[in-house]
Symmetry: C2
Subunit: 274 residues, 2 copies
């Protein structure tokens, strides 16, 4: 597995407080094509879904019905590559480190630039990401093992069904972070402040109760160990719409690659509800 | 002005804790056609917007871009009169005390039943309402003058523009409640818990800073006095979409009459984010 933290030092320098626009520029130039956990860490990162306009209404309704996994931060005008609500210079075709291209629900490519695939009828959705509340958890003194180890967060498909809308349905996808009991309580308090980026956890403890049978084998991202004195804590995840897209099998769709997010100019602190 | 609190005692009896389904049944029978402030007060009430499917996507995008005034609680399937997400027996054609019918952006009728106007292409939106956090404010011991006086809350159009989407744009509409300073601070804390029903205030103090020139002349609802030791406190209001509809001038649209809400089976406590 790639050690992203070491690679990031090479690309971005020792300073962990990179500006969002600086990191985006390096991504745009193809110099960073991996996951974005820990990069420009004061800034909001987003999950990306790009769909033809004919499906955009159904998809927005799906997000409305499933606000915990699908908190919508911005929706573009059809055919518009820029996302001014999230940053002055954001170009959705170049500013995500790695994309996934889906045709008829099958993953067909993982490019680092989608300008050649752009169409006038495409609508971009940016959906909140748990990286925003991870900053708040770390500021509260809670250790996050995957960040310490420079890994992508572990993500799992659950047996919890989302609310359907049009062709979109499927399982709730969650992220898992192991925490000691006192930290679990604090984590509930801290993440409750961030309803726009998944908010409070959806489950704590026994993974089998939500249909997860092996924590060592995540469906997306990297496995992390759960120590004997820790509980696994599960939050709704912005990869959920990718599972819904696999279910809906749209003729054409583009998403980010799990963990490789769009970095915006918004500050995580701006998303706190109190 | 009608004294709603006295009338409500006649229709519903002395018990202020009416069940939502009981109140809805009386509304359905045409026995209550006025505003719903204080009725079934543990239950979530909602603003209603009904639009042809051709405009529903733009309108949902408008709501996404303006979550403080337009927090969407539910969206119906096209042509579907029932709203199962909000209550087992809710019929959007009969369960609002008074509707407003708009043609080409002009208010043309205020019926108490819209079954005769129903069409297979209509989509219903239910948008959160400040009555939900009013219960929390009263439980926190904060006095709400308009409730004490049995009046509708005072609503004002402001000079703050909402974010446009498709044909929908227009001013932010706010509700105003007068509070003493210590209660203002508490009110910010209490209402911050309810981001899905307008959340924290948008303004406190001088009304002219947000384009309101006379607190004695609200644009909707009833005026209430502001005492010398009080500050006016302003929250985003679910009548904002009605102002956007007047701007968009859709060929056909139905809304609730300001203050005369849809009463759902959801509990206000269910909407608290922490």
């Amino acid at each position: 597995m790639e050690s992203a933290s070491e690679s990031a030092v090479v690309v971005f320098g020792q300073d962990g407080m990179q500006s969002a626009s600086h990191v985006r520029r390096l991504i745009r130039q193809g110099l960073w094509t991996s996951h974005t956990s820990g990069l420009a860490d004061e800034h909001v990162q987003g999950n990306v879904v790009i769909l033809p306009q004919s499906l955009a209404g159904d998809f927005l309704r799906y997000c409305q019905r499933n606000p915990k996994p699908c908190p919508v931060l911005a929706v573009s005008e059809p055919g518009e590559r820029l996302l001014p609500a999230l940053g002055a210079d954001i170009d959705i075709c170049t500013d995500v480190p790695r994309y996934r291209v889906w045709r008829d629900g099958e993953l067909v490519d993982e490019p680092t630039d989608i300008a050649a695939l752009w169409r006038d009828d495409l609508v971009s959705f940016v959906i909140g990401c748990s990286f925003s509340f991870e900053q708040a958890l770390m500021e509260a003194g809670l250790p996050l093992r995957h960040v310490e180890q420079g890994r992508n967060v572990a993500m799992f498909r659950t047996s919890i069904a989302t609310e359907a809308a049009g062709p979109f349905s499927g399982p709730l996808v969650v992220t898992m972070r192991p925490l000691r009991a006192a930290d679990v309580i604090r984590a509930v308090q801290v993440t409750s402040r961030f309803p726009n980026v998944h908010g409070a956890p959806v489950h704590i403890g026994d993974p089998s109760l939500i249909g997860i049978h092996d924590l060592a084998r995540p469906d997306y991202g990297d496995a992390v160990d759960v120590m004997p004195d820790e509980l696994p804590v599960f939050w709704a995840c912005g990869v959920t719409p990718q599972a819904a897209i696999q279910q809906a099998r749209p003729a054409f769709c583009i998403t980010h690659a799990p963990g490789a997010m769009l970095i915006t100019d918004l500050l995580n602190h701006q998303l706190a509800s109190f």
